[in-house]
């Protein structure tokens, strides 16, 4: 009796499961995208909004955090705004590199409550790109967004949080 056929099958399954572990990575993102879970908002530019729902107000607040002592001071000019679903709104953020070196900043957005994440559409966001900031430089960025008209009716307020990272060294490392 030869064990080779069964052995081969089992080895292939093992290797397949190893690949599956890595497949879980994009699968996780697909699942998050589809359902907007984990507050992972899209990092892609959204389509223009066509309809505005006049009958309800949604409050959107902003908060930022500079990760692990990253030398960036990022603030929204307005702590919070009230918008109607579908209404495009611009919010200005200031970002300053408070160190003596040129840096590159990456902002990563996160939305609370998690279920609202997929209803927040960003037309323009400084989180779409890596942002170089010279030493001491302060720049203004515009966030242009709207809240989808299909936002569940029980959601009256959202918080958009940006975590900003100093990715200067990672960029240097990958360029070398």
């Amino acid at each position: 009796m030869t064990h080779a056929p069964l052995l081969k099958r089992l080895i292939i399954i093992s290797i397949g499961m190893f690949a599956f572990a890595f497949a879980l990575v994009p699968l996780y993102d697909v699942f998050c995208d589809l359902t907007g879970l984990n507050g992972k908002p899209s990092l892609e530019q959204a389509q223009q909004s066509s309809v505005i729902e006049q009958t309800r107000d949604v409050s959107v607040s902003f908060t930022t955090h500079a990760q692990s002592g990253a030398p960036f001071e990022v603030k929204s000019k307005e702590y919070s705004v009230v918008v109607k679903p579908g209404e495009m709104r611009e919010v200005v953020f200031s970002a300053k590199n408070s160190s003596e070196l040129d840096k590159v900043m990456q902002a990563v957005p996160s939305v609370s409550p998690g279920k609202a994440a997929k209803y927040l559409h960003k037309m323009a966001c400084f989180c779409f790109d890596q942002q170089p900031l010279k030493a001491g430089e302060e720049l203004e960025f515009k966030l242009l967004f709207y809240v989808d008209t299909t936002l569940p009716s029980d959601v009256e307020e959202l918080t958009l949080s940006y975590t900003v990272f100093d990715i200067s060294e990672q960029l240097v490392a990958s360029n070398n």
Partner: protein
């Protein structure tokens, strides 16, 4: 029969007493509607498990006693019964559904943080919490206040050992408080048992939860996710005040912030004596540095560098200040610019440069710290 009535008495009388009375044995009821719901769910599932356990073990005990070979028991021949299998699959299934209904209700309520009266942003880091009152411009760090001597058994432990902080989170009662959680480094978890609130603080993401406190008081919790060396040393303390008292506190806190800024400005013209800086520096060192660098300044070889005899501490003053202000990227040494005032920074640097035989004789003034901070701003 004696055994049976004893057991019944235990269940019906003693256990509930134990359960309610003594928070050494059981979960606490807490001070929010949610925490009471959670307590009820806990006691219900516990009771169900006790009943099932008693029934099953009683049957087993009976068999172990009466169906013993030494008593002459002759083994029966049966070894299967589809009817019985179906029964003891279906009955637990039904019990579980009964349990799932109230659990679902409570969970949905717990995860609905909408329509809050106040929002607090909680940021965990190694190894302290930061609280920000959103929209109110009040924020501060909250660190373990238990003296190192108590931890190293050189002093007696006070009743709130390891559960006390320098600045508690102050909240109003009877208002819905929303918490936004994030982390500055690794995953932490913010937990207050009296509120039945526990939520992970994930770096780069924001989580939300909420509470509504029914009673004034001081409530203590701890970090609930392994976050490194001092995971057990970053407690959570919430002081719940009446709405009126909270308003007063909040106004005072805003004022205190302005006054601190003024005081700092005033310091810039002063030259503080070395003794004052050394004394304050020692305090700051024990509270903010000693956990890693040790009270002896010897650090932990391979993990945290020694400050005694350290080239940085003994060398260029600007370089030393720079490390405190910016941290050391790629290491656990974080920036302390936001955590410590310029006076504290000046004091702790002075202390380190003169303690443990370092004896540089350097005295660092608050104005030098401010100059370094300003240089960051001006560098162009």
């Amino acid at each position: 029969m004696g055994k049976l009535s004893c057991t019944l008495w235990l269940i019906l009388c003693v256990f509930p007493q134990l359960a309610l009375a003594n928070s050494q044995f059981n979960m606490r009821k807490g001070v929010t509607d949610i925490s009471e719901n959670v307590y009820e769910l806990h006691m219900t599932i516990f009771f169900i498990c006790c009943v099932i356990g008693i029934i099953v073990f009683a049957i087993m005990l009976w068999a172990l006693i009466h169906h013993r070979k030494s008593k002459g028991a002759v083994p029966a021949q049966f070894h299967e019964s589809t009817k019985v299998e179906i029964l003891w699959t279906a009955i637990p299934f039904v019990i579980l559904i009964a349990m799932a209904v109230p659990a679902t209700k409570t969970l949905i309520a717990m995860e609905d943080a909408s329509k809050a009266d106040l929002t607090i942003k909680v940021t965990g880091s190694q190894w302290k919490w930061h609280y920000e009152y959103m929209g109110e411009d009040v924020e501060f760090y909250s660190m373990l206040a238990t003296p190192q001597d108590e931890i190293t058994n050189l002093a007696d432990k006070n009743p709130n050992y390891l559960l006390e902080v320098d600045k508690p989170l102050v909240l109003p009662i009877n208002q819905k408080i929303r918490f936004l959680m994030t982390s500055d480094d690794v995953i932490h978890s913010w937990w207050v048992p009296d509120f039945a609130v526990k939520k992970d603080a994930n770096p780069g993401f924001i989580n939300e939860t909420w509470t509504n406190i029914n009673e004034e008081g001081i409530y203590r919790g701890q970090c609930a996710e392994l976050c490194g060396k001092d995971h057990g040393f970053m407690p959570v303390v919430v002081e719940a005040k009446s709405e009126a008292d909270f308003k007063v506190w909040l106004a005072d806190a805003k004022q205190a912030k302005q006054q601190a800024a003024l005081a700092d400005a005033a310091l810039l013209d002063q030259t503080l004596p070395k003794e004052e800086l050394m004394e304050l520096g020692a305090q700051v060192y024990m509270a903010s540095c000693a956990a890693c660098h040790q009270p002896t300044g010897l650090g932990l070889p391979g993990v945290f560098p020694a400050l005694k005899g350290s080239p940085i501490v003994l060398g260029d003053i600007k370089g030393h200040i720079d490390i405190l202000i910016h941290g050391s990227p790629g290491t656990a040494m974080q920036s302390f610019a936001k955590q410590l005032s310029i006076k504290q920074l000046a004091a702790v640097i002075t202390y380190k440069r003169n303690a443990w035989g370092n004896d540089t004789g350097d005295v660092i003034q608050p104005s030098e710290i401010q100059a370094a901070l300003d240089a960051d701003v001006e560098a162009n």
